[in-house]
């Protein structure tokens, strides 16, 4: 997961400091209502076209979810030798410093909402469930890629435990990172490569990558992969998401 909006989490973004402050200034200018040439070119559609762009984005989400996502088609996997050197795999969080669990023994992952059997799963319980390990490419919405090995329990296995009701159509993943959350379609969540990951490159996942548990899937952009997980909730209504609510495409599928 990375920061799709460069203005936030700036401290994690190596070598881009100058650009960030310029963007911040630019956005400030927009907020202040400056009608400069720069503002005109930074046009996001305005009050008239903006909703249209959003509607098209939702239509694209529909195409992506209903027509493109296949529950059986797997994203390509790579040999371990092609991993990105660990220090070069970017990571970020909304809150600073990195959010960490004060008492790991007290941490547990809740499965709730429209389910027959709500769950409260400790890390040991999660690790006892079916395990998936793969080395895949991470696609950031910014355009960069990196390869790493992830290990965890398929979300489909947890879903099977909880037994969602017929009304459940979406999933909401919550974190302890300053309220960061994501909304997911069930089809992507049921994908065999969508996992709750507790290991990264064969070791327990580090705080930078979302310890103790994070959502991972090679069929979604990084900003859909909630780190620092606390709960997943089945809903009937589509949950938005931290970046999705600010204008990023909701589906974020690759």
């Amino acid at each position: 997961m990375t920061d799709p909006r460069a203005a936030r989490g700036a401290a994690d973004r190596p070598g881009r400091g100058g650009e960030l402050s310029r963007r911040d200034l630019f956005r400030l200018g927009l907020t202040a209502g400056g009608a400069s040439l720069a503002a005109a070119c930074g046009w996001d559609g305005g009050p008239h076209l903006g909703p249209t762009l959003h509607a098209v984005s939702l239509a694209n989400d529909w195409v992506g979810e209903k027509l493109l996502v296949s529950s059986s088609r797997l994203a390509p996997v790579y040999p371990v030798s092609r991993r990105t050197p660990a220090g070069l795999f970017p990571a970020y969080s909304i809150s600073h410093p990195l959010p960490v669990v004060a008492d790991p023994a007290a941490w547990a992952f809740e499965v709730k909402g429209l389910v027959e059997r709500p769950q409260r799963l400790t890390l040991a319980m999660l690790q006892a469930l079916p395990r998936v390990t793969y080395t895949v490419k991470h696609h950031c919405v910014e355009g960069w890629t990196a390869i790493a090995t992830w290990t965890g329990v398929p979300v489909a296995s947890v879903i099977a435990l909880a037994r969602p009701t017929a009304a459940a159509r979406y999933l909401r993943f919550d974190s302890f990172d300053h309220g960061y959350f994501n909304g997911w379609d069930l089809k992507s969540a049921m994908h065999p490569q969508t996992i709750l990951a507790y290991a990264w490159n064969d070791r327990p996942i580090t705080p930078a990558h979302g310890a103790p548990l994070r959502l991972y899937s090679p069929i979604k952009l990084g900003y859909k992969l909630t780190k620092f997980l606390t709960a997943m909730t089945f809903t009937a209504e589509r949950p938005l998401g931290y970046w999705e609510g600010q204008g990023y495409p909701w589906l974020g599928g690759v």
């Binding site: 799709p4 909006r5 460069a6 203005a7 070598g15 650009e19 963007r23 630019f26 956005r27 927009l30 040439l37 720069a38 070119c41 930074g42 046009w43 996001d44 559609g45 249209t52 762009l53 959003h54 098209v56 984005s57 694209n60 992506g64 493109l68 996502v69 296949s70 088609r73 994203a75 390509p76 990105t84 050197p85 070069l88 795999f89 970017p90 490419k137 696609h139 950031c140 919405v141 910014e142 355009g143 960069w144 890629t145 990196a146 390869i147 090679p218 069929i219 970046w243 600010q246 204008g247 990023y248 495409p249 599928g253 690759v254």
Partner: protein, 353 residues
């Protein structure tokens, strides 16, 4: 019109007759100005024969006659009555050939293509027709004009939003590098060149404009394919020597302007290239939009990072093409600008092969 194959014998009519000469309020003008097809149909003895009897000579003479008619600049008064003829004759002469299914009928289109592709006599082609004698010809179907300008506008938006997206990560290649050669490596493009304001804005513009871009592009390509117009635009192996001749002329190593039809061989090369570039841009765009779901496509481009790289370079090829395209339109054949707006052309190269 009838099938693309059967269009071949009398090359110059698809847009004019297919335009619906009878339904448009400008029907009389159109018919009058489509003297290319009118005259060809009326004066070509071959066109009045039974189609099965049409042979190489007939097809060739049809091509030659139509080409001659194109530069003949007949007076509208003489043409209007004739314009009625091909509407009845041309389809009748053409359709049965395809329908008959006999050997000659099958061979005819191929023969006609060869005849049309062979260099017509210089006198019969639109080599710099002197001003004053230039005929008014209908050059571009409305669908071509609409898709041309729509894609021009859409492309500006696609490039602007694309450069906004690029600015979020101005490198090509995996994290950890090495990054691919890029003169703009790590540099955000200036604000005036970007659309969207921030990454999400750029993405939403890009993904919203992409669909109309694809739809208009596909509409244009389908029109070209089924109208037979592709013949005057697609660069084929036989255009190589003609392109060389044209280049020699531009370099002033050849004195006379080589014979040409609607477009010269270099234009055909440029237009074929830009259509190919459009297709590659769209495909590479899909390859980086859904690299997991469409991984077969992404693999075709050499993987996500390379697909993104090609997608980026397409921008500069589009810009370079546009610069040359607009410059040549204004310097060499300004009349073609009007033709792309109104459809009507009165310029140096009235032929329509």
């Amino acid at each position: 019109m009838s099938g693309k194959d059967s269009d071949a014998p009398a090359p110059p009519r698809p847009p004019d007759t297919a335009d619906g000469a009878g339904s448009s309020p400008t029907a009389v003008d159109r018919a009058g100005a489509s003297e290319v097809s009118a005259a060809a149909g009326a004066h070509d003895p071959g066109a009045e024969r039974e189609p099965a009897a049409a042979d190489t000579a007939a097809a060739a003479s049809a091509a030659a006659a139509s080409a001659a008619a194109a530069s003949a600049a007949a007076a509208p008064a003489a043409v209007v009555p004739a314009a009625v003829v091909p509407a009845a004759v041309a389809p009748a002469a053409v359709v049965p050939a395809a329908a008959a299914g006999d050997v000659v009928g099958r061979l005819q289109p191929a023969v006609a293509v060869l005849a049309a592709a062979a260099p017509p006599p210089a006198a019969a082609t639109g080599v710099a027709v002197p001003a004053g004698k230039r005929p008014l010809v209908h050059r571009h179907h409305w669908l071509v004009r609409v898709t041309h300008w729509a894609n021009a506008v859409l492309l500006v938006g696609m490039i602007g939003s694309g450069l906004q997206i690029y600015s979020a990560f101005g490198h090509f290649g995996r994290r950890g590098g090495p990054y691919y050669p890029n003169p703009f490596d790590g540099k955000p493009f200036p604000l005036w060149a970007r659309l969207g304001g921030w990454l999400a804005g750029g993405l939403n513009w890009h993904f919203a404009l992409a669909w109309p871009f694809v739809v208009t592009g596909a509409a244009y390509l389908l029109y070209m394919a089924f109208s037979g117009e592709w013949r005057s635009l697609l660069f084929r192996p036989s255009d190589v020597p003609r392109a060389v001749a044209m280049q020699l002329y531009y370099l002033r190593l050849r004195k006379d302007h080589p014979p040409q039809g609607k477009h010269n061989a270099l234009q055909k090369g440029a237009y074929t290239f830009i259509l190919l570039l459009g297709v590659i841009s769209v495909l590479s765009g899909f390859a980086i939009y859904k690299p997991a779901q469409l991984s077969w496509l992404t693999t075709l481009f050499g993987g996500y990072e390379l697909a993104r790289y090609w997608h980026f370079w397409a921008v500069f090829l589009f810009l370079a093409f546009t610069l040359v395209h607009v410059t040549l339109v204004l310097l060499v054949d300004p009349a073609s600008l009007r033709a792309m707006i109104t459809g009507w052309y009165r310029g140096r190269f009235p032929s329509h092969d």
